[in-house]
């Protein structure tokens, strides 16, 4: 059928004039000016071996801050106890563990008072497990962002880990109070503490990035992670010291990066001898994991918006 034209744009003609009552933005850039020689953005299929674009991440550093801040703000909204939950979790677990493992089962604790021993282990473990759980789910939970706006996707799991770090800081205050109570004298070993915390953060970041990308494609990960975390605690020296195991099996425990990390916490806080080899093993595994995770994240990233 022949269709004739309809020329009825009169109703909206008035919108050519700027709407009144609004303020002109300062300093509108007239793009009739100079254009850059090189394109600011090139869009093309990525090569298979693309690596992390650090410039891009740096440009969006404020977004990392805002997403972290959002996670922290929102997490305890409309809860009665609020941020106290960050303390309650490790504190109550510590009390139960002290009762059952410390008192009743008589698990040794390298001559550290058992509550201190358990709490320091739990502090590290709670941070790690919360960080990888939330960051693992973070991409899928941010589907509305991933499909609607561009920014380096790594920021999403990164912000989840960073928010976990805030909880860690709060729970750490209790540890300090326990240390004062048990009259622990702080030695120079404490200088290593920030390093160990950084190592935990990087390890959690590597795991979180990898898990979050996997979850986009395989929702199975969501079910596997909580279960593996539960098992993971028993193969990490949280409730027992590494020395609890026979000498010949200890290297096996060191393959778990959390071993070196948790022992590192105790050594730096309570002035014990560092087990440098297991700490080095943790650092090496963390480094390899980070490289692998960012590589595989980059590889899967390009399909996120299409399959999420």
């Amino acid at each position: 059928m022949g269709i004739s034209s309809t020329d009825t744009n009169t109703s909206l003609k008035s919108t050519r004039e700027p709407a009144t009552g609004e303020v002109e933005p300062e300093n509108p850039r007239q793009s009739s000016g100079e254009l850059p020689e090189e394109p600011l953005v090139i869009i093309e299929p990525k090569k298979a071996l693309g690596f992390v674009d650090l410039n891009d991440l740096w440009a969006f550093r404020e977004l990392l801050y805002f997403l972290t801040w959002r996670d922290v703000k929102v997490r305890y909204k409309q809860t009665q106890l609020g941020i106290a939950w960050a303390i309650i979790q490790p504190l109550l677990t510590m009390l139960v563990f002290t009762l059952f493992f410390g008192r009743l089962a008589g698990v040794p604790s390298d001559n550290i008072p058992y509550p201190l021993f358990a709490y320091s282990g739990l502090l590290a473990w709670t941070f790690f497990s919360n960080a990888i759980t939330t960051s693992g789910n973070s991409l899928v939970g941010s589907a509305h962002l991933v499909t609607k706006v561009y920014f380096p996707r790594m920021i999403i799991p990164g912000a989840a880990v960073a928010a976990g770090l805030v909880d860690f800081g709060i729970a750490f205050v209790i540890l300090v109070m326990l240390m004062v109570y048990y009259r622990v004298t702080v030695t120079l070993n404490i200088l290593m503490f920030p390093v160990v915390v950084l190592l935990t953060t990087l390890f959690a970041l590597g795991m979180g990035m990898w898990l979050s990308a996997l979850t986009v494609k395989y929702r199975d990960v969501r079910f596997a992670v909580p279960f593996l975390i539960q098992l993971g605690m028993f193969v990490s020296p949280v409730i027992y010291p590494a020395s609890f195991l026979p000498q010949k099996f200890r290297w096996l425990l060191s393959l778990n990066p959390m071993t070196g990390i948790i022992e590192g916490y105790r050594s730096s806080l309570f002035g014990r001898q560092f087990n440098w080899s297991s700490l080095a093993a943790s650092a090496a595994i963390t480094l390899i994991l980070l490289i692998y995770a960012s590589y595989s994240f980059r590889r899967m990233e390009k399909n996120f918006a299409d399959i999420i």
């Binding site: 009825t8 919108t15 700027p18 303020v23 300062e26 090139i42 997403l67 561009y150």
Partner: protein, 422 residues
């Protein structure tokens, strides 16, 4: 002058078919890997036999700085995919695009708003997500608040906002972006008329500041008033590009498809919800004609049938008529009545000599208790009113949406001879 946007042979392929319908599961992948480890190494996942479609195929165009380009096309033509590729949300399969400026894309207003956070907090969060720096938001804070008219509610969580307030805040933030290239999807499709007007006003301000804008819309009136160039996409390819007026005209003439009758015999697949489902819709001239041509001079009968699933509901029916370019012609309701469960028939007659020639779309709405909408079906019918044999000596297109026949009186009141005698 150099172009600010260069798009060369951009294509995007999507895999459809059974394997993509469900999420891949780990088990499937493991089994796949065990069975054919080599095929997994060679090509990813060995999805050789799934069907693929090209959402975009060899799209090339250039945009000069300061141009406002409209992208038009029917649903599923590839407009949104193009915007997603240009916004870097998804990667092209082949091809390349170069952007010589800061890009901001607005595929949705209020991206990343968190319901638990206050208006003020969401302003910062949303701004950061759209690519603004904190200092930039600080600097524009007062302007954004003034634009949103929400001074009093800044410290209220947005979950307590009405949808109108929410949109106002979201648009206020988005409209204070200062990119060199702005990519805008059908943002204006939401919100009330007042809000749309404000958005369009803001858009034209942005355009007049010399920014480059790529704008997708179904609202032809908006496209025509904002854009100096238009690109028409169909089936993932550019089928027309050039002066907005001409491209829009071509699109409306060739792109529109008349929908004179629709029937759904199976209630399972019929559009609707648990309260009401559409059974049929039909438009025809009166008296009915073999060729179904509707002329300016024929009365038009619109007839609808819908299933009412609620016992004893007080139901009304509203007919919304639009021109093809989105101008609202009217919304007229049929008085409500108490209806038992079952099939309801509604018919209306548009008198002859009322609508001008042109293409119209019909949206219908079942209304309950004169208050709430039970079901709204947009664009259920599309029909054309043809010009009739002309009386008089004007053969061009009559402007306007309606063309009523008025009661004219035209007579000589004073004759020249009389005047001279005075």
């Amino acid at each position: 002058m150099r172009e600010i946007v260069r798009v060369e042979n951009l294509s995007k392929e999507y895999i459809i078919g059974a394997r993509e319908a469900a999420y891949d599961t780990l088990r499937e992948s493991l089994v796949q890997t065990m069975r054919a480890p080599l095929s997994r190494l060679r090509g990813r996942n060995g999805k050789g036999n799934s069907e693929t479609i090209w959402a975009l195929k060899n799209i090339s165009f250039k945009v000069d700085p300061g141009e406002v380009v409209g992208i038009i096309g029917r649903n599923g033509a590839g407009k949104s995919t193009l915007l997603k590729v240009l916004s870097r949300i998804t990667e092209p399969t082949t091809g390349r695009a170069e952007l010589y400026g800061r890009v901001a894309s607005l595929l949705e207003v209020g991206t990343g708003f968190h319901p638990e956070l206050t208006g003020r907090e969401n302003m910062y969060l949303n701004g950061a997500i759209l690519g603004m720096k904190k200092t930039e938001i600080d600097r524009k804070f007062d302007q954004i608040v003034a634009f949103s008219e929400l001074e009093k509610f800044l410290d209220t969580p947005v979950k307590r906002y009405s949808s109108g307030m929410y949109m106002r805040l979201a648009f206020a933030v988005a409209s204070h972006l200062e990119p060199e290239i702005l990519i805008v999807d059908e943002v204006l499709a939401v919100g009330d008329a007042q809000f749309q007007k404000k958005c369009l006003g803001r858009m034209s301000t942005v355009a007049s500041e010399g920014r480059t804008v790529l704008f997708v819309s179904h609202n032809m009136a908006a496209i025509k008033s904002l854009c100096n160039r238009a690109i028409w996409i169909d089936g993932g390819q550019i089928v027309g590009a050039g002066q907005t007026g001409q491209v829009v005209l071509d699109y409306l003439q060739k792109g529109a498809v008349a929908k004179l009758e629709q029937t759904w015999d199976d209630p399972l697949t019929a559009p609707g919800n648990e309260k009401a489902k559409i059974r049929s819709a039909r438009v025809r001239p009166l008296p009915p004609r073999e060729d179904e041509e509707i002329s300016v001079e024929s009365p038009i009968e619109l007839e609808f049938e819908y299933w009412n699933y609620q016992p004893d509901a007080f139901l009304g029916f509203t007919l919304h008529l639009y021109t093809i370019d989105g101008t609202y012609v009217f919304a007229v309701g049929c008085a409500g009545e108490r209806r038992p469960q079952g099939l309801v028939r509604v018919a209306a007659k548009i008198p002859a000599n009322f609508l001008n020639d042109g293409i119209y779309t019909v949206t219908i709405q079942v209304v309950q208790d004169n208050a709430s909408s039970v079901y709204l079906h947009p664009d259920i019918l599309v029909f054309e009113v043809l010009d009739s044999v002309r009386v008089g000596n004007w053969f061009g297109k009559w402007p306007g949406v309606i063309r009523p026949r008025l009661e004219w009186i035209s007579e000589n009141v004073v004759q020249r001879g009389d005047h001279e005698q005075k």
